[in-house]
Structure formats: structure tokens, C-alpha cells
């Protein structure tokens, strides 16, 4: 299946114990919550899952735990990005053999890569696996900004079938849709752009928000699917402040704090990432309440 995803693709965090070791048991619990709340896909080892902070062994354990826990109820999209092509191939193969539905690749880079280097990177990875690849553009985390023209070129690689755009620039989606036609599978990765991206024709929304407010995220998608812009707009404005907050504060920090406020375990963060301040947690609590959530802990978490 060339494009196994649509709708709300949920990103779990990677929780750590108090010694900053990955807590696989808690991770599986958080994945279960996402599946149960109706998310249309699960995407471990994204930015939300602090992929680049993990060792190879930790990445493999997270991949296996996700696939085991999801158990084919929804498709799984595994992040396999790495600085070198060699290590990216390694993790892509691991994900395929573990049962992933597709892999996500962002050209992380220290040195700015040329367009030809990026193309060769994707082509090399894609030809070593037979599952689909989602090309992911997010200059804010990866340091490289792939132009819409380069993204279009990447789609020439047979199993690169999906694009995730996280620049927050709706004009890039317009370009992709206009250049590639109605069938292009582009996904939005910028939370505050959710309404504009769906209005522009995005197939899905890649987001960590379903860890906290799945009802509003799924409701927005359904309104769009029903061609009901008025309802979509209304639901979007209900969740907008929360969406902006979790992006501005960093998804791993904000989701962990939000889970605790909702009465769930969020685990610890791995240094140098540090938890939100007391003031920030209080603000998050009030935003969750505005979204209709019951908050159990309003103290620093």
C-alpha cells in the first residue's frame, strides 16, 4: 500500500525513568492510550520521541515495543533518521523487518547538504527497503530546509510516497498540491497550521497533541472530512492556544507535563532537556481546562 496513512497520526513521547533510562513499560502504556483514543496511526521515534537523543539499542527497543503494542490495529510509521546514510539504512531495515508500515526520514545534518546529496541519501535508503518512505521537512529541528521543488523531486523515487511539511508555511502545501495534483499525499506537521493545512488539502496531521486532547484533534479532522468548515473552524479555535503552547515549549517537555496534569505518568526527560517551570505548568493546566479536560494536578510536575 503506497500511502498507508491519513487523518490523525499520533506521536508518542519517549519517557525516561529517574536515571534517564528509557522506560519501555510506560512507553507501551502511552502508545496504548493513543490507539484507544482513536488515532489513525502511530509514529514513534519522531522529534517528539527525541530520536536523536537515543542509542541504537534504545531505538530498536522502541520500534519493537510500538509494533507489539499496536498489534496491527492502526499503521505504524517509524522514524529512522540519522546523520549518515549508512546508519539511516541500518535503522530503516530494522524497522521494516520489525513490521513497520512505513518509515519517516528527515535529512538531519550538521553540514548543510546539497540537493543532490539529499536526493542520493533518500534514494539509497529507499532502495534498501520495500515499505514506503515519508520525506519529512522540518528546518527548525533538522537545520535543513528542503524546497518544495526538492520535495517534488524526492517523489520520483518509487517508494518515497508521502511528504510531511513542518515549516508552517501554507504556501508550500499549495505548491505541492498545485504541482503534483489532488492525489499527492502531503501531511502537515505544524500544529498551529492544522486548519489551514486541511483547508489546503492535506491528507493528514502528524501531531503529538492526541497525547493530551485527542477529541479535539479527531473532531477537527472529521469536520473537514464532512466538508463542514464552520465546525472545523470552531474546533480549531478551541485548541489553538494549547497547540501553540506545546510547540513553543517543545513537544517532549510539554507533553510530559500535560500527561501528569491529566493524571497519567509522563516519566522524566533526558538531559539537557529539562522540565517546564512552575509558571509554565500552571499555564498549561489552564489551557487544558479551556480544551474541556479535567486537570488532576495543578502543582509543578
Amino acid at each position: 500500500m503506497k500511502v498507508p496513512f491519513k487523518g490523525i497520526i499520533a506521536y508518542p513521547i519517549t519517557p525516561f525513568d529517574e536515571n534517564e533510562k528509557v522506560d519501555i513499560k510506560l512507553f507501551k502504556h502511552l502508545v496504548e492510550l493513543l490507539v484507544k483514543n482513536g488515532s489513525h496511526g502511530i509514529a514513534p521515534l519522531g522529534s517528539t520521541g527525541v530520536l536523536p537523543y537515543l542509542s541504537d539499542e534504545e531505538k530498536e527497543a522502541i520500534t519493537e515495543a510500538t509494533i507489539e503494542q499496536v498489534d496491527n490495529r492502526v499503521p505504524v510509521l517509524v522514524g529512522v533518521s540519522n546523520l549518515t546514510t549508512d546508519r539511516t539504512v541500518y535503522h530503516a531495515r530494522f524497522a521494516e523487518s520489525a513490521g513497520a508500515s512505513a518509515v519517516m526520514v528527515i535529512p538531519m545534518s550538521y553540514w548543510k547538504l546539497t540537493d543532490d546529496e539529499i536526493f542520493r541519501h533518500f534514494a539509497t535508503v529507499a532502495e534498501k527497503i520495500s515499505i514506503p518512505v515519508m520525506a519529512y521537512n522540518n528546518p527548525a529541528t533538522a537545520g535543513i530546509d528542503m524546497s518544495p521543488a526538492l520535495l517534488k523531486r524526492l517523489l520520483e523515487i518509487p517508494n518515497v510516497t508521502m511528504i510531511k511539511e513542518s515549516t508552517g508555511d501554507v504556501q508550500r502545501m499549495h505548491y505541492l498540491r498545485k504541482e503534483l495534483g489532488e492525489d499527492v499525499a502531503f501531511f502537515n506537521g505544524s500544529n498551529p497550521l492544522a486548519l489551514a493545512a486541511f483547508s489546503a488539502g492535506a491528507k493528514g496531521w502528524c501531531t503529538a497533541a492526541p497525547n493530551l486532547i485527542p477529541e479535539l484533534n479527531l473532531g477537527l479532522y472529521e469536520a473537514i472530512a464532512n466538508n463542514d468548515l464552520a465546525t472545523a473552524q470552531n474546533l480549531f479555535y478551541k485548541q489553538l492556544k494549547l497547540l501553540k503552547f506545546i510547540v513553543e515549549k517543545g513537544l517532549p517537555r510539554a507533553i510530559k507535563a500535560g500527561l501528569t496534569l491529566l493524571g497519567e505518568e509522563g516519566g522524566s526527560l533526558r538531559s539537557p532537556l529539562n522540565q517546564l517551570s512552575e509558571v509554565e505548568v500552571k499555564l498549561l493546566a489552564s489551557l487544558l481546562k479551556e480544551c474541556g479536560k479535567e486537570v488532576y494536578h495543578s502543582q509543578p510536575v
Copy 2:
């Protein structure tokens, strides 16, 4: 009436004769075309109308010609911006006495103004007239970027009742709508953002495009008014390339060339503005055809 506008607010160009003098007769003809094609409002002396290139006498002649030609069929929004507060007051009073429905003010500036200076500028102008003021933000032309927080503050001035946002940043519209509620009258001035802005709740679209493709502009607005996102999306993608072209090439240059292609007179430009190149005119011709228009001249104009 506090907010006399909604829907498609059309911006005529200011045509010049071959000696670079304003051609009032041709201007009135172009205004008539905009009213006849169904535009919901007419806005002379905007950026499209090269306001800052005109002498005081020319501005006054354009103002009077518009109001006479429109003859109360739709409301008229007159641009009265000037570098000094004193001259802005002068032109605002002139517009009111001539019969304008409202004035538009952009804080043009050579020296970056402080927020307090901008607020005082608007307050001084607004209190000298009794018709509504539209505060206009367009850093690309004016060199000043008014923050959403400043725009919100400007709305505290009694007859500053409308905001026109031309940054092309949909998040600013989200902010205004979220901070000010459903009733805030914000208008979109960025053509390629037309769909996203209407999806976000914009009351209207300030645009020069109805000089060339009024059917598509009005159709988009009507689809949104009917809560029919699918149709709106379809109509938006039909006109997107043309909208991007006229913005990138500069509205006065592009509209003048487009009018000639459509068999109308566009007049000349005032130096240093120069007409589009032959290659650009050919591209414009093909884009007009894609929008369903019949093109009469495909030679350089």
C-alpha cells in the same frame, strides 16, 4: 455603520497617460468595470493605486472620481496614508468630506516608529474624522510590521474598526480572531493567502485581482459563505498561480499588463515603475487562459 465592508474589496490601479500624468477618464472606466463585475467594495489609493507616487492634487482627483463613479452602489474605502501625521489628517478629512465610507491608513515610515508613535498617529487621525478607519499592516510596502498585539490595541480607538493584514502569515489572523472574538473585522490583503484567511474567519479579501478574474474571486467568497470548503478549495487552486504572479511582479505592473491582454486599456506606469518584460507578459497570458479568460493580445503590451 462601523464595518461597512465584507466580501471582495476591489483595488483599482491608477492609470497614467504617455506623459506619466494621471488619466482620470480611464480610471473611472476601470472603476466602473469593478462595480459592474460584482465587487462588494472599491478601494482607490491603495498600494495598487500607487498612492505614494501621487501629488496631493492627484490624490484628491482620484478620490472624487471614485465616489462620483461608484455613486453609492457599493461602499468606498479611500487610502489616505502619508509619512507625517499632519498630511494624513489632511487627506482623511478630504476623503470624509468627499463622501468616502471609510479610510484606510498604513503607518508608512522612513524611520521605524515606536508602538506609541503609531498609536498616537492613528488616534490623531481617527479623532479628526467620524467615518471608520481600517488599520492596514503591510511591512513589505510600508517598512513597518505592526504586531498583532499593537493591532489589537489600535482597535481601542473608537472608529478604528477594521484591520487589514497583508503579511501573509495566517497565524496573525488566528491571534486576532482568538483575542478579539468572532466579531472582529479582519480582512486579508495577501492574495495567495485567500483560502487560508477565509478558513480562519476573515470578513473579506482586499485584492486587485478582480480587475482580471472577478468570477473566480467572487466564487471563492461565495463558496466560503455557503460553508462549502471543497468548492472553495477547488476555485482557489484554479486562481492560485495567477494570484502569485500578480503579487510577485508588483500589482500595478501586473494589472496594467493583464488589462491589456483582456482587451481593456491599462494606461502607462509612472517611473521608476516599468512595464513587465515580453516573457513575463506571455506567462501572464497563459495564466489568464488557465483561469478561463479569453486573451486578446499576447504580444508585449
Copy 3:
């Protein structure tokens, strides 16, 4: 003489009376102070002189007053920029007939001009006069950023012989010097870049600072002329905070406030420009003291 300027080119403010009318008598006094303190050239009607806020009559009065007061003691560089080519030609001719040594032209613009439009604008103005033209690049005030390649091209026009760069990007000066050789006459218009620009080979420094701290400005130039980097560095760091302050607060506002602090008259500003706050004036007073100046008024001015 193709390049009549070098060293410190001083920019007077345009002072206004309490009714916001130009105060020519005070202006001539301020010009006299600049000549007496040793400035190597005088440049009225620059950004510091709020050129775009003035009427044609006011510009002409300022031009004549400067040339009369300077009385050939140093060369005079008159700003003649205007949005339209026609009005720029008018003011350039006026300046030449009044006795200016050269004119300065910045492509002020509301609509972004193409490189060809800018070239034609300069060529048209330059051919209508026989004195030299300084091409001035300052995107922060004019809204147009002329690339180094365009600036190089402008120097092909016979009497465009000087470039003033105010972007604050030392790499642009490197480019001009490298492309055009040691003899190119480029001037620095970014105060905090004074040391780096002279180190890069700038012929002169266009600055409003000699209204307040002429000794330090002239001393820096002399140290560079003596190939004494250590002394230049020392003098630069003495004045750096003041240079940054006057740029950040806007030169007309800051120079006016500084003159009052030093016991001189600075006149009023024209709206929307407003005077510095009490806190800002106190900070300016302390910075002037750090520069070795005696401050007479530390109260709000």
C-alpha cells in the same frame, strides 16, 4: 572632482519649532557646529534630516541654508531622494544649481523595484546633472536592498562615483573592494560598523554622531589614517555604546535629545516622530558622560 569626500561626513538633523515648522535659523547654527568641530563634509537631507517628511519648499530651504552656512569650507552632499524619478531629477537639479558638491540618492520605494528599474532611475537622475552622485543602500529605511552586484553596476554610470553602504554587513564592503579594486570609493553608513568598515578600507564614515561626539569620531578616522589599529580599536570601544544607542532609538530622536543634554538647542520633532522617554534620556546622558562629554541637562528634554 569625482570623489569630493573622505573621512567624517556629518549629518545634521532638521530641527522644527513648537508648531512643527522647520527652524532654519537653528538648522544653520547646528551646521556651523559641525563645520567648526572639524567634520570633513556636511550632508543635509539624509535620513537624519528626515528628508521624506519635508515638503519641496522645505527641502529647498534646507539645501540653500546649508550651502550658505558652510560657505565652501568643506564639501556639501545633498540628499535628493524621492519616490518618483521625476521628483528626484527635480531636486538633484536644484541641489546642483544651489552649489552642492554632490548628491546622494537612495531608491526609496513603496513597490519593490527591479534591478533594471533602479538602474534606469539612477541613470536618468545622473545624466540630468554634472556633479557626482553617491548611491546609497539602506534597506532599513528605504525598504529596498541593493545587492553588491547592483551597486557595482551603478558605478558604470559616469557620475555615479561613490557608494554608501548602511546594511551593517561588512562582507558587502569586502565584495565591493575586492570586485572594484583599491580605488573604489565606498562609505560606511552603519555607525556600529565604523571600525570594521575602516579596517576593510572604507573611504569615509557617513554619520550623525559628530553632532554629539565629534572628537571620538574624528580620532577614530585619524588613527586609521595613521595605520594605528590599536588606537583606533581603543577609541571605537569608547564610543560604541553611544553609537548603538543613537541608531536603535532613531537618529533624529536621539541627536535632538543629545544636543539638549549638551547644552545646545535641538528643536522639536515632526509627528509621528516623538521624543525619547525620560528613561531613555537618562541613559543617553550616562553614555555621553562615558564618552567624556559634560552633560548640562539630565532631566527629560
Copy 4:
């Protein structure tokens, strides 16, 4: 010794063999060339040395090889940056025990770190070792831009004694020098800023250029040390085009190609990094000749 470096600190590349394995023997040869040509310090595992592309074992081998080859002739600065605090501590300790003079730490990050997180990261690393730490700011590679105020704060940590600034913004160096006094040890890491940075008082220049043109790099430093700005300016303009080229093309790519042109071995690159194109290599050859170097291979390398 709190600040063991001054002058020209040379960055070797990490060469790979045809199977993309690290070539330690060639690396030691390249280090020897840098020491012999008079560089004042050697800095392995920087951006030039593609630090983030290496495994832990490879980093350790490079560290040991450098210290063995340099053999105390000049001080050694080892890059130990890592995404997590834990791994940065590990490599810092390894460098100290291997005999490094100091370590360099850049806050590499996927998620934008807060100022407090960065401070804690540096404090944790610094307290686990007793050799000095150079804090390195380079948003172009690391994705985080540390403000001058944060850099100043980092210097409060006892053994954080040096700052390397690679933004290319000379105003940041002005700030550090002005805030921290003449004794602050700030180093320039932006090649095209070499002259401006030394003019501003930089203690040294961290650069990969001595792999290719050590004579010009060292000559520039000596002219500055002799307070001879005219000679420094002359030498800077001789090497400027080459400096810009190697930065624009990426240091690992450009240094590898340049070494081959000069008759040395440069090894291979690790994917996704790819060698320069034929056209780029020819341009590099001509730039090396302009710098007075004899070029042995002008064919693609």
C-alpha cells in the same frame, strides 16, 4: 593555564578510506602538516572533522592520534560535543585523560534548548573535568544561536574560559569585548570575518584554512600582532575569495578537494557528504593559484 590558545588554531579534516572508514594514518599525516606549517594550535573533531558523523570509537581514535602526533609541540583543542549531556561528559573526560589542553563544546540540539538548559549542560560538563572549556556558538551547524548575554553568563562557570563565535556577526564580538573587558578570550570561527574580528580584538582565529594556505593565515595574524593594519588588510583581501569558497562549499568537501589539488592526499568523504563537482574543483584551483599556491592536479579529484 586558563587560556592555552591564541593566534591560528587549525582544524584538520577527518579523512576516510574508499569504504568510508576513518583513515587514521592519513589523519596523522595531515595533523603533522598543520604543526609543521606553524599553526599555533590543533583542533580535531570540530565541524571540519565531521564530529557528529563519527562513532564513539572513531572519536576516541582521532583524539588519541592527534595528541600522539602533536606531541606537545602546540596545544590541542578537542571537540567533545554531543546531543545529550551524558555523552558530552563521557567524551570530555576521555579527552582530558588522553592529554587534551582544552575541550570545545557546542550545544548541538534537535530541540531548541532554553538558556537554562544550555547553562546547566555546560556547567555539568565543565565540573566533571579540570581542563578549560571553549564555548562554541555556531547556529549554522548546531541549530542553536546562543546570545552574547548567554555567552557572557557561561563565562561565570570557572573553567569555561574561552568563546568561539562563528555567526559572522562582528557586533557580537564588540558586545563581548565591551561587556567583559580587554582580557576576554574570544575567538573567531567565521573565516570571511577574519580581518574584522582581529580588528575587534579577537585573540585567535579557529580555521580550517591552514590545511591549504597557512602562509596567508599566519601572515594576517602577525600583521595584526604588529599593529600593521595596512598589511593585514592587504593579506586579507588576497585570501578572501578562497575563504568564502571553502565556507560556502562546506569545509570537509572543500579542504579534501584542495589538498588533492596541492598534491596531498585528502581521502574520501562519508555519505551523505559528496565531493565537489568538476566545475567547483576548477574554481578552487584558480583560487589557490591566486593565493600563490602551486596546483598539481586541476582535474576532478
